[in-house]
Each structure stands twice: as C-alpha cells, then as structure tokens.
Amino acid sequence: MADKPAPAPIAHPGPDYIYQAALAAGTFQIQRCDACASHIFYPRHLCPVCGSAKISWVAASGDGTVYSTTMIRQRPEAGGNKNICIVELAEGPRLMSRIEGVAAEEVTIGMAVSAEIAGSGDEPKFIVFRPRAGGQS
C-alpha cells in the first residue's frame, strides 16, 4: 500500500486552521481584538464587535460557567441521557459544549467548569468541560 504524500504545508493559514492546529497540539487558544480588547470565539478574520482585522491569539483560561443547558433524553439502549450546553468562558465569549465527568441530570446553569480537549484519533479536536473544583461560581 503506497503511502499518501504528505500535504504541502500551508504558508498563511486562516484563523480556523490555526485554531484547529493548536487544539491538535494540545492548546486551547482564543482570540483577542487588538483594537477593542474583546475576546473572540469562534475564530474570526474580522472582530465581530468592532470590525478590526488586528486580532491576536491568547491562551484561553479554560475556566467557564454553564450559561444554559439541556438534557437530550434517550433510552438507555440508545446511550442514555446526554448533556448539551452553552458555556460562557471567563474571558466572555460563549461556546456550545458538553459537561463530562458528571451525570447529565446534574448539570446546572451557573456550574463552574474547566475546559479540556476531546476528540480521538484523526478526528478534529473539540472542547468539552468538567466541573471545576471549588463548585458553583
């Protein structure tokens, strides 16, 4: 079986590529607008708050709070109930995610959570959260 040729490196990738590559390398980073200081998620080319193209990458604190949450009801044989939620990062932006390490029934609005990188093998990586030590924010 012939090996696939390695893809040519991309000289000037766009923001999403940079975000995904950092996640794959084990770092959760978000953006911060140089002009208006807004933190930005998901990755953009123009700041959605002020329109500036001067945007820098910063390491995300990983701290967040559950802004809203629901439980997808499923029979046990279909995998059981599942959490899906929106987390507000300490920096301000929100993202969809799920809370792991706790039963779906126990996820509540206001729960303090910490980010971790998920996704196995060659799949694109993504952010999930776990309850943060120290309890409710």
């Binding site: 809203s68 629901t70 009801r73 899906i84 929106i86 929100r94 993202l95 969809m96 609005i109 996704g119």
Partner: protein
Amino acid sequence: MSGSIRGKAAIVGVGLSDFGEVPGWSHFELMAQAVERACADAGITSKDIDGLFSMITPANMPISMTAEYLGLQPKVLEGSMLGGSSFVNYLSWAALALDAGLCEIALITYGSNARSSKRRPGGDPVPYEAPYAPRLVDGYAMAAARHMHQYGTTREHLAEVAVAARAWAQRNPKAMMRDPLSLEDALKSRMIADPLTLLDCCLISDGAGAIILTRADRAKDFPTKPVYVLGAAAEHSHMQIAQMPDLTVTAAARSGPRAFAMAGMTPADMGLAMLYDAFTINTILFLEDLGFCQKGEGGPFVANGAIAPGGRLAVNTNGGGLSCLHPGMYGVFLIAEAATQLRGEAGERQIKGAKTALVHGNGGSLSTQVTAILGTAETL
C-alpha cells in the same frame, strides 16, 4: 425616500393545499395545489404571476424549480433563505417590487411533504457546534431553560401555550391535532430536551401555502377583500445558538418596534397575533420581545388561558405550528391565517371585527426574526 412600504401592497389571494398527512404528493405538487387555490381566490390564472418569492427546501435552487414547475417566466425572482421566517420577509420585497412597478402580481409560496417523505429539516451546518451533535430542539430547550432560570418561567407556562394552541385548533376543522388537551395532560407529555416535551414541539406535516399580492391601487380590481401590508421589518442575531447574545431576548425586540413604527401602531392596536410557534417557548419570547408584555412576564401573560379563545389576546388562531400544521417551514401559513381573519372568513375561530394582525416569523435557532403588520382598508 420614505423608508416605508406602508399601504403599498395588498394580499388579494390566499390558498392552502390539502395539509396534515397527504401521502403521494411531492413538495412542488403540494405547492402547485396551493397556488391553484390562491389564484382561484384572487380570480387570476397562475400565468398572470410575474413576481415569484419562494424557497422550497431541500432544493438548492428552488426558485427556478418552482418557476419551471408552474411554467412561469417571472420578472422578479427572489428566494432568500432566512429559514421559516423567509415568507414573512418576502412580504417586504414583494411590496417593494410591486410599488416600483417591477412586477404586477406577486406570489409568495412554499410547500413540503416533510411528514409523508419522513424527511426531517436538517438545518444549516454549524461548524463550531457539530461535534456536540445538537438537534434543532436543543437550542430552543436551552433558551427555555435560561428563561426559567432568569425569570421564574415554569413548565406550566410552557404547557399553557400548547393548550391554547390546541383550543384554537379545535375551532379549525382543518387543523391536524383537534383532540382536547388539558393542562394536566400537557404536563405529562414525554420529555424530549429539558424543559421541552413532545407537546412543546411543533408538528411535522405535509402542506403548502400561497399568497397573491398586488399593488394597493389595483387591489379593488380583485374579488377578495384586500389585506394591506402596513409594516414589515427583518432582523437577525446569530446562526449558531451559542452565538446568540442573550438566550432570553430574540431579534424580535428590534424587528417588532420597526414594523410597528412603519405601521404607526402599537401592540395594543393588534386584533390578533400570529407568532411562529416552532416550540412553546417561542410564543412566550415573542410576546415579550414584540411588546405585548414586559421581558420576563411572558409566562404569567399566557397563564389561565389568556391566549386561548376568549382570552386577552388572540394568538395563533389556526392552532399554530403546535396543533394546526408545520411542514418544515411555517411562515407562509402565518400570513394565510392573518389574511383569512382580516377578511372575516375564519369561521368558528373568527375574531369578530379584527382589522389588524401581527405576523411574526422565526427562522433557524431563533436566528432570524421578521415582523409584519397587516390591516384592512379601514386601517390605511
């Protein structure tokens, strides 16, 4: 430039296809049946249509398919996709095109065999949300959960919306769901995505609707009682639900005031309100955002049958997406019911003396919000 379309165009024809469960009919066939009925209502033939405003999923170029299917060569072709609110949005563009003389007879139409084909609305790609596999209901459930958290809205308030819709549907012989529904029964419904149950979710139906409009000065040449477009405005807040700035405030808080300002009216002037009820939380959010009550008071506002027949405000008099029909996208049916009411042709569910109606369309995950105000000739 007036920045207004007030009174420029009138609805002169309304048609609904057979709806509910209509096996053996394609999207476009149902659409054509609705067009046939709207044209008969307006006293025209389909070949008189020279402005087409349509979006029929899952086609990628539905405007051409619709024109081809009907054998039309319209001078104006408009098929912007705003989700279920698209059809309310077309009211603006049809009125503008008619007023500018770009076309003479405009058709707004939609059809779907979502129920019989078992094809479920998939929604748009949500690249930053796809890893968590959200269903459409999950975003609305999170809006409801946040509303409960912030304002003390209850499961009973949500159930009141479903019960009111059913009570209206019982007065509409064509509505899909007409069995009696008590608050107690609604509260026992199976949970789908907390806090939304099966009965908090709209139906999945087959069905099509068609609306014929012409310029206001031509409306008297048609056999039907004209229904005028008095105001309209579209707004957007996000596509992916996690990007919604506040899950308890929709862009209806901007589209509503703009549409009312154009019409020169307030919520208190409305004879009825057709609010896109894809889920029960929608009705509560839109009553607040459109100014029928204060933010956070939507739950208490709908309590004790207040939006059911005989209540303080007639809402979703056909039975809504919850109990009448919801074939994937529902916006065209809001307009059809409002026009039917303003013509005084709504039978047992008729709001006596209704001269004005608010029509509010929702698209995506509370993403696009489009408000229109319709009125009879007395309101011009």
